[in-house]
């Protein structure tokens, strides 16, 4: 039986189901307990699990991240919520210099099974300091995995997988703008393996790759293109690191054209990496240069028109697809 629930409810179910199964799992972060979550992801969890396992922290990202990382090394399985990933920058030292490197430095003795999660990327007119999309930056780091789902169904399965089965640190990137999105989700438990992209729409003429909320742009563009007789295949990466380039390559073998839509800054972004692998592994299959739409090469400004101009749009995606298909206009 499926029922329609919001993205935030799916995340909560994932955490709650895993917490019921495993005493070692706990949730920690700012406003997660008594306030029921800044974005209501953890609504009701304090009531069910109590203050020992649903833990409000002071605003001290470096400190509580370190506590999570230490606890993970010492037998627990923490889920750490960042109110948004913008604030995780303060804790990057613990993630990059400790969590990601523990296993290597200790010669395989000490692992760090921890999940960091929170809203990521732009969320309207929030200004430069609250609008960064961090997938590419974290994906640069060996030793951690990066997940960035586009809908509640995937989010639930991936988060359950991360909490229960992943023994390595997982960065789980959500979006404030998707928390309210509703979707049919099964009552029954399910898991989704990390590192597997998902073909969200079948097509034959061009491949569009995206992830997180930019999937809306990709799917919206595919719908527009269909009206003009262009069949776009849309791939949702779901996991950024490890990158499932094989699914992209299989699609490109069929369509011979690739457009990537992402909210990262362009320099060394997810699209840069995809472009490298696909030209290397699929050079003979390409009938046009791989193209991309990223966020503008700049901090995001506040004014509404500047936000719109800086972020990928359906319109620009449609236009770019036509370019790689060598169609006029």
């Amino acid at each position: 039986m499926a029922r329609s629930i919001a993205f935030r409810d799916a995340l909560r179910e994932a955490m709650s189901e895993e917490m019921r199964r495993d005493e070692r799992v706990f949730l920690m972060g700012e406003e997660v307990a008594e306030y029921n979550g800044a974005y209501k992801v953890s609504q009701g969890m304090l009531a069910e699990f109590g203050a020992k396992r649903i833990i409000d922290t002071p605003i001290a990202e470096l400190g509580f991240t370190a506590v999570g990382v230490g606890a993970a090394q010492n037998g627990l399985r923490p889920v750490v919520e960042f109110m948004t990933w913008n604030f995780a920058v303060l804790a990057l030292d613990q993630i990059l210099n400790t969590a990601s490197k523990m296993l290597a430095m200790s010669g395989g003795q000490i692992s760090c099974p921890i999940v960091f999660r929170g809203g990521n990327g732009s969320a309207g007119q929030l200004g430069a300091q609250h609008s960064t999309a961090f997938e590419a930056m974290y994906a640069n780091i060996p030793g951690i995995k990066v997940v960035s789902p586009s809908n509640g169904y995937d989010a639930k399965g991936l988060l359950k997988q991360a909490i229960r089965y992943e023994e390595d640190p997982v960065m789980f990137m959500e979006s404030e703008q998707m928390y309210g999105d509703k979707m049919e989700i099964p009552e029954e438990e399910y898991y989704i393996e990390l590192g597997k992209a998902d073909v969200k729409r079948k097509g034959t003429d061009v491949t569009i790759v995206s992830f997180n909320k930019m999937m809306k742009v990709a799917l919206g563009a595919a719908a527009e293109l269909e009206k003009e007789g262009i069949s776009a295949e849309v791939i949702d990466l779901r996991t950024i690191r490890p990158l499932d380039w094989k699914t992209i390559l299989e699609s490109v073998k069929k369509t011979n054209r690739l457009v990537i839509v992402e909210e990262q800054w362009p320099f060394a972004s997810v699209s840069s990496e995809i472009s490298y692998v696909i030209q290397k592994e699929g050079f003979d299959y390409l009938d046009a240069p791989i193209r991309r739409i990223t966020a503008a090469d700049a901090p995001l400004h506040y004014a509404p028109n500047l936000v719109a101009a800086a972020l990928p749009s359906i319109e620009r995606t449609v236009k770019l697809v036509k370019e790689v298909m060598y169609l006029k206009k």
Binding site: L62, A128, F267, N305
Partner: protein, 331 residues
């Protein structure tokens, strides 16, 4: 009761506090009713006596830096009300050209260094502003504001240590409004008297009542004097209260209406008004004239903002580098 402060000081405080409050009340209305202002919006309402007392205890060359709850201090420093309102609207005429929004007001020529969105970050940056003043041998001081929640960030400790080590002319002002979003001070630490955090660095510290510009002025003036004379930093914990939610979207379930009313009963604007009337510094009708002037300024700022143009779309890649020839990646 006889007052230690002059008629002019009281009238200045009254007008400044009214200006800040009316600015925010009308802006909030434009946000909620007309959707003309977007993003996070954190009102200063209730905390105005801090801005007022700090202004009379400092000089224009002194620098202010604060967090995202920045409207009051920007206006106090003299960033024009028109440009502040236009910034909220995201217009090209805003004090940050529509690029910052509510959380990022700036006014370099007014010595207002913003407007910062990462909780606690400006504690360190403000320390750096003070470093430059000392380096340049000025007698200017820096007023570095942060919230009770921000006081739990690690950067506070590193900054305090550096500022004491190098005797920097910085006044750390913790605007303790008792809440960081929905978290009350006593839920964030074993040390609930934030001024005591200075003890670990043997930094002078004080706890002040922030509902009166008088007490704020006196405490700040003592700290400023010490800093100007080379005596180094001070931590001032100023007890205050925000009447509104943390931001516009906050349902405020973590506190009672009675608690809010208790503070509204000690409203700094009403208190200053009483002192003015009791001391016959001005009559009712004079205060009404001030209120009218404030209303006119604020209404004019709305008109200014509404009539101002949006920034050009090509502003997306402007103000990113000072270098005008920077080769941006444009796909």
């Amino acid at each position: 009761m006889a007052s230690k402060f002059s008629k002019e000081t009281y009238l200045y405080w009254y007008e400044l506090m009214q200006l800040i409050r009316q600015f925010e009340l009308i802006a909030e209305e434009k946000y909620k009713m007309e959707g003309k202002i977007r993003g996070f919006f954190h009102a200063y309402i209730g905390q105005e006596a801090i801005a007022a007392g700090c202004m009379t205890a400092t000089k224009p060359d002194d620098k202010f830096i604060t967090a995202y709850r920045d409207h009051g201090l920007a206006i106090a420093k003299g960033v024009s009300v028109d440009s502040c309102m236009a910034e909220l609207y995201g217009k090209a005429t805003g004090c940050a050209k529509g690029k910052g929004g509510s959380m990022h007001f700036f006014g370099k020529k007014e010595n207002f260094f913003g407007g910062h969105g990462i909780v606690g970050a400006q504690i360190g940056t403000g320390t750096g502003l003070a470093f430059a003043e000392k380096y340049n041998g000025t007698d200017n001081v820096v007023l570095c504001y942060f919230g009770d929640g921000a006081a739990r960030q690690g950067i506070l400790h590193e900054s305090f240590n550096l500022a004491m080590l190098w005797k920097l002319p910085v006044i750390y002002i913790c605007e303790n409004n008792n809440y960081a979003m929905g978290t009350s001070v006593e839920r964030t630490s074993n040390v609930v008297d934030i001024y005591k955090l200075a003890d670990g660095y043997e930094m002078p510290a004080d706890q002040l009542d922030g509902m009166h510009p008088e007490t704020v002025h006196e405490g700040v003036a003592r700290a400023v004097k010490r800093a100007r004379e080379g005596g180094g930093p001070t931590l001032l914990e100023i007890k205050t209260y925000r009447y509104k939610g943390h931001s516009i979207s906050d349902p405020q379930k973590y506190r009672t209406k009675e608690e809010v009313d208790e503070y509204k009963a000690k409203d700094p604007i009403a208190l200053v008004r009483d002192v003015i009337l009791n001391n016959k510094f001005a009559a009712e009708k004079d205060l009404e004239a001030i209120d009218k002037r404030v209303d006119d300024i604020v209404n004019a700022s709305v008109k200014f903002a509404e009539e101002s143009p949006w920034p050009n779309d090509d502003e997306v890649l402007k103000d990113i580098y000072v270098d005008q020839n920077y080769p941006f990646i444009v796909d």
